[in-house]
Structures are given as structure tokens and as C-alpha cells.
Symmetry: D2
Subunit: 276 residues, 4 copies
Amino acid sequence: MLKPIPDLRIVGRSRKPEGTIVHVGDVEVGGRKVVVIAGPCSVENADQLGTTARAVQAAGAVILRGGAFKPRTSPYSFRGLKEEGLRLLEEVGRQTHLPVVTEAMDTRHLDAVRAHADMIQIGSRNMQNYTLLEEAGKLDVPILLKRGLSATIEEFLFAAEYIASGGNEQIILCERGIRTFETATRNTLDLSAVPILKKLSHLPVIVDPSHGTGIWWLVPLMARAAIAVGADGLLVEVHPDPEHALSDGDQSLRPDRFAAMMADLEAVARAVGREI
Amino acid sequence: MLKPIPDLRIVGRSRKPEGTIVHVGDVEVGGRKVVVIAGPCSVENADQLGTTARAVQAAGAVILRGGAFKPRTSPYSFRGLKEEGLRLLEEVGRQTHLPVVTEAMDTRHLDAVRAHADMIQIGSRNMQNYTLLEEAGKLDVPILLKRGLSATIEEFLFAAEYIASGGNEQIILCERGIRTFETATRNTLDLSAVPILKKLSHLPVIVDPSHGTGIWWLVPLMARAAIAVGADGLLVEVHPDPEHALSDGDQSLRPDRFAAMMADLEAVARAVGREI
Amino acid sequence: MLKPIPDLRIVGRSRKPEGTIVHVGDVEVGGRKVVVIAGPCSVENADQLGTTARAVQAAGAVILRGGAFKPRTSPYSFRGLKEEGLRLLEEVGRQTHLPVVTEAMDTRHLDAVRAHADMIQIGSRNMQNYTLLEEAGKLDVPILLKRGLSATIEEFLFAAEYIASGGNEQIILCERGIRTFETATRNTLDLSAVPILKKLSHLPVIVDPSHGTGIWWLVPLMARAAIAVGADGLLVEVHPDPEHALSDGDQSLRPDRFAAMMADLEAVARAVGREI
Amino acid sequence: MLKPIPDLRIVGRSRKPEGTIVHVGDVEVGGRKVVVIAGPCSVENADQLGTTARAVQAAGAVILRGGAFKPRTSPYSFRGLKEEGLRLLEEVGRQTHLPVVTEAMDTRHLDAVRAHADMIQIGSRNMQNYTLLEEAGKLDVPILLKRGLSATIEEFLFAAEYIASGGNEQIILCERGIRTFETATRNTLDLSAVPILKKLSHLPVIVDPSHGTGIWWLVPLMARAAIAVGADGLLVEVHPDPEHALSDGDQSLRPDRFAAMMADLEAVARAVGREI
């Protein structure tokens, strides 16, 4: 039924049964502590990013996220502040001492993103952009690899193998919902993927309940479930004013709700032998 | 994004904001206590059923499940002991004082199933068998309604509305995995459906991690997640000898593993303000 | 990749390599001639049914369809004229000398449907209603079996095997679209299923482009494609006034458009060595 | 149900109701003539490519396809001859006077591919690689854009809009199957997408029955259906020795079977008012 995949030569669990710890700045992902990465979908301006960063940090987030290069379905949607967004991220990261993660959409962005960020995200739409995966494999910076919208677990792991085969084994896998017939949610968050990924691979696995549901009030509940099922971390969208967000407002938590969620998650983490 | 569905005249949340408690024998489903329903996929013989029933009861299960009429893809597979299975269920239920639930596949089975069981299950393949739903709506026995393999949440709730419109509001909804492109699991367990169903409807919602994954070692993990996300109960397949089960052995827990799971779930339930 | 399925003991192709001809009244399905079944989604009244029947007959349809028992998502939608609908169908069938097909949703309907109709349809939502399949297998009337909304080709063929294992081998398979993530169409018509079904089984295969798309103007185009790929027939919804239809108006053709489609299909049928 | 999409400012049908003709070398795509593009999945060596090119040309293909950069699920699979493959393609194209199309997987490949090929393919896995789309939009070479594995029709059209918004309107859309629950075929070829794409956009639409099914003997049948439904062309994999192909042998036609298919398709094209 669920057999080991022999061609996962590097990321397969048997090569490193004890599991991998990925270091993002001085944060360890894959250990006993559940790691929360939070921030706005898009970096919009210094004030929005700074406010959000300080709020999520106060509530317990240890890595800051924010999109500078934004993949959007329509070319006429807001597509990110690009280099200016990277600069803001780095600045706010330095002020708060939070490591930052942001997406690179193309091989040509890798150097710029790496210059400003502590971890590079490869997004769902690029999970099978094999050239990008290969180039990311040549870097010495951790990679946050998100599952493709309709990628099987096997394809997802092979995407990680592409990166690893270039020499970079600092990879975090992120389940973020798959595309199904159900339209009540933006995607269907596949939480069973978490223990399966951890069984087949030694890499840490985190969950993105924001994209996984598309609905802000589901985020704290699915975050609970993600921790209960064994996720090593969460990736959560937070915005000081979701109704006026330039992207993904429907799925973004206000800072006060994020703080309430964090308080709530502690008990669940303890119940499964983790801390947060 | 997620709007109330006005035509859910009876099962819609607004009609009963405080939620419904369903009574199965003297067990209450939908209250603070998370209810665990367990037993074999198929009733095979008196010994198998009795052994399983006593084991799951000792571990904390409060309702016994077991299939007498079995929907199977091939007509040449084992299709259940039928009336003999119903008789065994009733007998073991009486011995253990556990209420029993079993599936009716057709309107003509309803009387027989009702005569022997405390709750009638309508399975995934019959979720849109509207004649069966209507007839179930005329009974005064609780109904366990499982989500169809590719039913949207809206279609699922309308199936409950069919039952309710006949006068029977003692309905428990059961999320049991949906059909997606992913083949690592038998189905994709859609845990986000649980809070959505509870928001749109006042009916209790339970989760079947056995069918939802098809893989026994995932069951305790997805059971944790189900409780974390707010499920009112679990439906779990247990078999004394899964390798020789006549159906669904791959997804059945051995009694010792079921007991270990139950012990483990207490902490998660407490963490979210429930007990088990 | 596509292996014979040994447990298809009766409907498997190897048992009858020359293929099966199903007789509906005096119409043969499965021969050189492509058979068109047409009529309204629901029987609404004598006038609507009679008008439609005469129009589709004039355009070349050879079997009349019409729903008397209608499976509807909501219990508050129009659910068919039931026995009165059956009576109207029989009457109009007699007047026009067209054999009629209509759906039975439950084992208890089988006798009534059989008394009035020349072929019994088992709908998508009941494709795995195994009790209904078994009872249909005991009758000596042809069965039109529609593929379930998310049934694999293998499950579809096993549903036919259920019927056949009861002794009734007069079965027509109908591809009618599957549920996918795409929302532009009501379903995704899986035309590759047609040659696969014909390779694995000796039963005739027809296509329902009305449910398969949900969009009236796509029907003639997908009907062309169905014939090109080898379908033995079509099932098409026609209504004299689609905008006021009590069900499925969006996917129903007006009689004049149906006639235009029929004229158009002749050339395609000839191009692939068939006639219509 | 199917509304125009206002933000398709450039590729939307209303902007060019008469439709677009794309010029690939001296071949016109989008006119009355159905255009067949054929060749091996991967360019393997001069002999394999030359043999295939001459065979498909003799049978009526007018554009040569062949992969030099190959996106493969595993990094350990054959991934193409890369620059050497491009060189071979150009050489064989010159010998046969066939324009050639091949895939670019990354912005950095665009110049090299453009130097050797007459049309650049953007593959399914890169359909939402927006940086690649943008760069392709700055070129003056036609683009063959394949639908993503789980892209909606709307997302597919917006990917074309990305290219067009850069100034390049020489775009051919290619339906190549979508990912569904069905496992009998590699993908589910969504032929209803063809007329919908043509209604919403003025761009030519072709169909790839090789990837769309993954099964060689289905290719001629689905090719028939594609022409019947209105496709402007076909993209077909042909290999002189499919059993020893370095990629996708299961779905490749032998040259003799390709020739038989081409002969067969003429009648279907004529039946729908086209030629081939």
C-alpha cells in the first residue's frame, strides 16, 4: 500500500532515520519544538510589515514570512513589491531579529532573494519547475518547498530529491492543500500527507492552513489538527487589516486572532509531546 | 465565501444554534464528550465480534459497529452475513450493554436493521439514494449518515435534510474521506469539513479515520487531528486479526493498538476542552 | 497499463468478443447504427412530453427518455410526477411507437417502472446501490446503467457485473461525465472511457453529453466527439422550452437545435463507418 | 453559467471575434486546415529523430516536435540531450523543411531554444511559471502553451494573457488532459475544454491525445474526437521503436500506426468542414 520509494536516494527516510533538523537563522525546524512562521501574504509597505512582524513575534512566531514576488493568476493583479519588498523584509527581520522567508519564482531571482532572506520558498506553482529546483539545490540556504496544487506525495518528494541531488539537504516540506472537487474551501488540506511524508522522508514537514482552507476562521482549527497529526511547524498568514489586504485577505488572521490561536495551540502541542 | 444555505430548512444551524444531541441507546452524541464507535468492518462470527466488542469496550468505546450487509465493489467479494450478522450484533450488544450500529443498504432492509440495531448507518455509496433517505426519515431511530465519495459539503447536508424532512432529526454526520487524485491513501480525509459542517448545521459530526485513510497506522494520528478540529466522535475499525479479516484488514487496528490510541486521545481531547 | 479484469466473469470482453446487442423494443443497441435516445429531463405533462417525443422522433431519435422519479440534491426541488409520469411515458411511447426508458431509484420502484417502460435506467447516484443492481439483474428488461459521479471505470464495470450475475445481460453502459476540479462545466465528460469500456467489456456504450457538460451549446459538439470515438449511442435532453423546464433547462436542447444536431451527426457517423 | 472573463483583455474572444492565425514557419494554425504536429517525446539521436521526422512528414504532419529539455518527475530519469537535442532538431528541421517546436523549461533556456526552434513550448508543469510566461511574451516567436495538470480553463487563459500582455499574441493553446481520480488513463482528456476555450478566446486550440491518455491505442480514437469537437490541430508522439523509447513509450505511436491514423482522420475532418 505505502511502500518505500527506492529512488528517493537522498531524502528517503532510510538514509537518515533520526530525521533532519533544518536551521533557519538560529531557529531549528524538525525538533521537538513546533515552529510557527507568520506574516502577511504580500509585503505592502514598511508599516504593514513592521506592525505584523512585531505582533506575530509577540505571540510566539519565530520566523517572518512575506511575499515580494507574488505569483498571481491574473497579470493584472498586484504582483508584489519585488526588490523593494525584499529590502523591507530584510530590514524588518533585522529590527525584530526574526529570520525571514520569501518566495523566489525564477532562477534569476535566486541571488536577490538569497541576499535578503534566510530561507527561500519555492511555491506550489513551481513545485515541478525543475530548473528552479536544481539551482536551489546548489545554494547553501534552506528551502521551503510547497506541495503542488495537484502533486502526489511521490511527486512532492521527488521535487525535494531534485534539490537534494544538487547538494542542498536543508529542505522543509510544506503541505498546503490540494485541488479537489470541493468548492467550500479554496483547497482541501491533506493532513494525512504529514505522517506519510515523515514516514517516507527524513525532512521536516510543516502545514499552511491559510492556503489550505482559504478561510480565516478555519485556520486556528486546522492548525490544531496539524499539530495533533505531527507537523513540525505552521505557516500562517497574518495581516493587520485583512479586509484591505492586497492579496489573500479572506484567509489572513488579524494579529489578535493570531495571538489567541497561539495561546490555544500550546495545550495541543503539549498533548502530543511537543512544545510551541 | 461560505454562505448559509437557506434551503437547509431543518438541519441548518440557525434553526437550532445550540446544536443537537443524538441519543444512541443511552449514549449522547454531540455533547462535551467525544464518542468512540468501534468494531469490525464485517461481522464474521460470534467469537470475532464478541472478542472485539469486549476489547473496544474495555478501551473506552461506547457504541459497537459491525457490518452485516456489506457494499462491495465486486459481487464476488464477501458481502456480509446479512440477517445472521444482525442477530449476532444484537446478541453481543445485549451481552456488553453497548448500543450497536450497522448499515442498511436498501429500503427493504430498514425494518430488519431497525429490529436489531440502535442506530442505522447509511453508507457513502447510498448518500444520494434518496428513497432510502426518505424512508429513514420516517423512522424514530438515529441515523449515521456518511458523506458520499465525491459529495460536496452542500450535497451532504441536503442528504441530511432529506432525512430530516421526513420527521427524523436524530442524524449524525460522518466525514469519511473524499476521492481525489492522491493514491497514497484510500481516500483523502477532509478534516476541514468538520468545522464547516458544524457551522452550517446543528447536527453532530464524527470522523471515520479508517476509511478516510485506508492505512491502519494512520488511524490514531488522524483520530487525534479529528478531535483537535472539533469532531464529536470517531468511527474506528478494529479486528482481532486484521491480516485475516474478510474485509478492510489494511485499515483495521488490532485491539491493543486501539487501546493505545484511546489512551493517547485523552490528552488531545482535554487540550481542546473535551473529554473522551 | 490497462489489463483485463479477471473478475469480470460475465461482462468481460473475452467472454463475448463479438460484442453484445441489447434490444430495446425493436431497437438494437450495439450494432453498426448509432442509437439516439432523446427526451425531456423530467416528464412535466402530456403536452410537453408529446411535443418533445414527436419532435425528436422526426429528427431521428429512436428511443424516448423522460424522468418520472427524479433524484434531486434538495428535497424541496421538483422530484418528478412519479406514477403519473410513468403512465404518460407509456402513453406517448404507444402513440409514437417509440420504446421508452426511465429511471428507477429504488428496488420498490422496479415493478412499476418495468410495467410502463421498455428499459430501466439506473442513475449515477445509484451506480453502487448494490441491492438495486441485484434486483435489476433478476429482470428480463434491458438496463441503462450510468457511470457514478466519481466511479472508476473498474467500479463501473463491476456494477454491470452485479446486474449480470443475477442473470440479466441486457445492459447498456452510459458515460455521463465525472466530477473533477473544473467548474466551467457541470462534469468533465470522459470520452476516453468509451473505447476503454468497449475493450474491457462486450457491452454497448453510449454517451450523455447533456449531463456530461451541463451546457446546451456544448451538447452537439460533444455528441460529434462521442460518435467519433466509437460510442454506440447518445442520450440527449430535449425540451420545448428549456428556460421554463422544471429541471436541467441549462443543458436541454430546443427541438430545432436537436434536429440540426442530428443532421450534422450523420456525416461524422459515416466518417467512422457507422450510421445514425 | 459560462460567462466572458472581462480581465482577459487581450486573449478574450471579443477583442478579435474572427480568431487568430498563428504562423509557425510557413504553417498556419487556426485556419480551416487541421494541423498535425508529431515527433518523438525526447530527441534521442540523429537517426531516431530523422527517421521519425521523415515518417511523420510522409504521413501528413507539418510541424516536428521533439523534447531536448525534459521535465521528469525523478531527477534520475533521462532528462534530455539539452543543447545537443536542440541542434539535432534544427538540423532535421532544415533537412525536412519542417518547422520545429520544443520545450523551454526556464527563462535562461529561452534564447537557446529560440535560436534553434520555430515555436517554443511551455509545458504543463510551467503553465503558472509566471516569469517564464512574461519572458516568452517579450519574444517574437510563437508559443505553444500547454494546460497545467490541474489548471482550470480560466487559469489556463490567464496564463495566455500573461504572455500576451508582454506583446506576443502568437499563442497556441493545448489541451493535454487533466488530473482526476481515474487511474485507467494517465490523465483525463477534457475535450469539452476545446469549444469553451474557443468561445472565451480567439486563440487556436490543439489537443495532445498522447499525454491526454498515456495509452498509444487510444491516441487515434481521441484524435478523431478532438477533430470532431473542433480542435485546430493535434500534438502526437511518434517513435520508431516505442518499447525502447527513453521516455513515454507507452503513449507513442509507431510510424505505421501514425500513418494509418492520419488516413483515418481525413474523413472526420471533412465531416466537420475541415481538412487535414
